[in-house]
């Protein structure tokens, strides 16, 4: 692991070069007259069909960090890590229900961010600001973690990772990120959309080969599961408890279920997921995608199993130990020891490129939020479309630079803790956004107070969660005992959030506090305007009503 594997490294460099060229070329793909409009730069022209959206959302949601962290969790704790699978099972049926309404209302009013919708629906700048800030806060560490994923690959590749000189050590990461920042700046959302094709193809190939090939080298699935089950039962000398469990124990069921549900509810509150939804051309594209995206979840389930394959490979265990017990190295190490070096290179590339696509979309989403809901709302209300786009382009650079500083200057655990908090925080925007899609019953101030209370509660609970075996340690996990049951902190905070919003609404309504103007109309939530984002009038699908009068 100290010397560079030339073959693997060359493959990674070549595929990275292909991605970079694609990223810059994307600016010309389905080009509009001017890219200086947020609908163009920030949402790719709002014209992605089923196929592109599938790749875009798949490339967006299943990130490099997922590929590294989920198997690492399975490697470290066993069955508990499979909550990620349960979570991606739940997410699409849930999102299928509300995402089309969100898409429609955004298309009718030209909303670019979820906070735009909250602003329009509740007439509340404060609530919109809360949603925007939560989105940005939750997204930043997520971008940083994509870098952590790239770092894991670079470490195993032997690139830079061992150099004593900090600058040399970080140089490959720096170069990768500067190039990413440059093509995102020029091409906007079109760049990750186009790169996603390559990324997802590589991921599918890598996973299918890994799942079919590695078990044959390890003596079959029976052996892999046997080793895992024996290892997880042994006592961890640090915590004096077993490493994990092979099947979720009754005591862990509630934590498993709430982790899965909370993550499922939270996923499409993340700005980068909503950006993917808003970029779709038609309402049907969203629904059809929710029925097709679970294909990626199957892949995720298989990727989770890589954690057990790593456990059953002695060389990987030795490598993880040599890397200071860093379980995140388990998948790259597995590739190194199981695959011929050229195919290991393909696997590494899948992870590296798998980091670039979401990082680009996340930075665009965060930039959109800043531009629309902070800059335009509070500083330059009259900002033109071109000015907004230039600001967003610039902010996307700042966001990436910030993520880079995060990873390079601060301990890695800092990003991981913040991402854990990000999941808890982002779920607290659910009531404002999703309830708002169905009803205006909630009072805007009640929603704001509920959000604030849940943010504080969730943060404190996460801070107090100890690391296994170490008293007085912090951010040890995302679960905590609530009313005698260990559960996902985000769900506990969410329930608190909802309860406060309901009580607050009853009180504020009784006091007749001003409700704020609502610019939406009921029929706009089911509207299906045709491709042109400029046309605010909902039209019917052609052909469904022959001879009917025109909609206007």
């Amino acid at each position: 692991m100290t010397h560079i594997n030339a073959v693997s490294f060359t493959i990674v460099i070549v595929l990275f070069a292909v991605v970079t060229v694609t990223g810059f070329a994307a600016a010309r793909w389905r080009r509009a007259e001017s890219i200086l409009h947020l609908n163009e730069w920030g949402l790719g022209g709002r014209g992605f069909g089923t196929f592109v959206t599938w790749f875009l959302l798949g490339g967006d949601l299943y990130t490099a960090y997922t590929f590294i962290a989920v198997p690492a969790l399975v490697y470290g704790t066993g069955a508990a890590g499979f909550y990620a699978l349960s979570y991606t099972i739940m997410v699409f049926p849930i999102v299928l229900v509300f995402a089309p309404r969100l898409w429609s209302i955004a298309r009718v009013h030209g909303y670019v961010t979820p906070a735009d919708f909250v602003r329009g629906r509740y007439g509340s700048r404060g609530l919109a600001l809360a949603v925007a800030c939560t989105g940005i806060l939750a997204t930043m560490p997520y971008i940083a973690l994509q870098l952590v994923g790239i770092q894991a690959v670079l470490t195993v590749l032997g690139v830079g990772g061992t150099s004593a000189n900090g600058f040399i050590r970080d140089l490959p990461l720096l170069i990768a990120f500067i190039l990413l920042a440059a093509y995102t700046y020029f091409s906007g959302l079109r760049a990750p959309a186009l790169i996603a094709f390559l990324k997802d193809t590589l991921v599918y190939v890598m996973v299918i080969v890994a799942v079919l090939y590695i078990p044959t080298k390890l003596g079959g699935w029976g052996h892999i599961f046997g080793v895992a089950s024996t290892h997880l039962k042994t006592i961890n000398p640090k915590t004096h408890k077993p490493f994990g469990s092979f099947i979720v124990l009754p005591a862990g069921e509630w934590a498993y279920a709430t982790l899965a549900l909370g993550s499922a509810l939270a996923l499409f509150m993340y700005p980068h997921a909503i950006t993917g939804v808003f970029a779709a051309k038609r309402r049907d594209v969203i629904r059809r995608n929710m029925a097709m995206l679970p294909l990626y979840s199957i892949v995720l389930g298989l990727i989770a199993l890589l954690g057990y394959m790593a456990l059953a490979t002695p060389a990987v265990n030795a490598g993880v130990k040599a890397g200071g017990g860093n379980a995140q190295l388990s998948v790259p190490l597995l590739f190194e020891h199981m695959f011929p070096s050229w195919f290991a290179g393909v696997g590494y590339s899948a992870i590296v490129i798998g980091a670039l696509v979401p990082a680009a979309i996340m930075s665009i989403a965060a930039a959109n939020l800043f531009t629309r809901n902070i800059y335009r709302e509070f500083f330059r209300p009259g900002a033109s479309d071109a000015e907004q786009t230039r600001v967003a382009q610039f902010v996307s650079l700042i966001v990436k630079a910030g993520a880079l500083v995060f990873v390079l200057a601060l301990p890695k655990t800092f990003s991981i803790n913040l991402q854990l908090l990000g999941g808890i925080w982002i779920l607290q925007t659910f009531p404002s956004i999703v309830a708002g899609l169905y009803t205006r019953w909630f009072h805007r101030w009640a929603l704001l107070i509920g959000w604030a209370a849940a943010m504080v509660y969730g943060t404190i609970q996460a801070y107090r969660a100890p690391v296994g075996g170490q008293a007085h340690s912090h951010f040890g996990g995302s679960t905590a005992p609530v009313l005698g049951h260990v559960m996902y902190i985000a769900i506990a905070a969410f329930v608190l959030n909802l309860a406060i919003a309901v009580v607050g609404t009853v009180v504020f309504r009784a006091l007749r506090l001003p409700e704020g103007a609502d610019e939406t109309l009921p029929h706009q939530f089911t509207a299906n305007p045709e491709a042109s984002a400029a046309a605010p009038v909902p039209a019917t699908v052609p052909g469904t009503r022959p001879g009917s009068p025109s909609a206007t």
Binding site: M90, P522, F525, T526, V541, T544
Partner: protein, 91 residues
């Protein structure tokens, strides 16, 4: 602007779609259903193969729900149909 046309949705098919989606979610949320190792499928304990198989099942459920929720050809596209589609919309 005239009241925009609505695509009527049969309340029954909307209900069926909701039930299908609920089945999909509950199958994953109700952990005691699958937190067991037997019966095995090949070398895979139940916990693992159930979740891996539940995924394509949910895919099919989602697809059926999509078909049900998709635009029905507007048959009863009058004021009643429009009101029935939306439930508790905003004022």
């Amino acid at each position: 602007m005239v009241q925009p046309q609505r695509r009527a949705r049969n309340p029954l098919s909307a209900a069926v779609a909701t039930v299908l989606l609920l089945i999909g979610v509950i199958g994953a949320f109700w952990v005691p259903i699958y937190a067991r190792s037997a019966p095995k499928l090949g070398d895979f304990p139940f916990f693992y193969w159930f979740q891996l198989i539940w995924m394509p099942v949910v895919m099919v459920l989602c697809y059926l729900a999509y078909l049900l929720m998709r635009t029905a050809p507007a048959v009863a596209d009058d004021a009643n149909g429009a009101a029935a589609t939306d439930g508790q919309g905003a004022k």
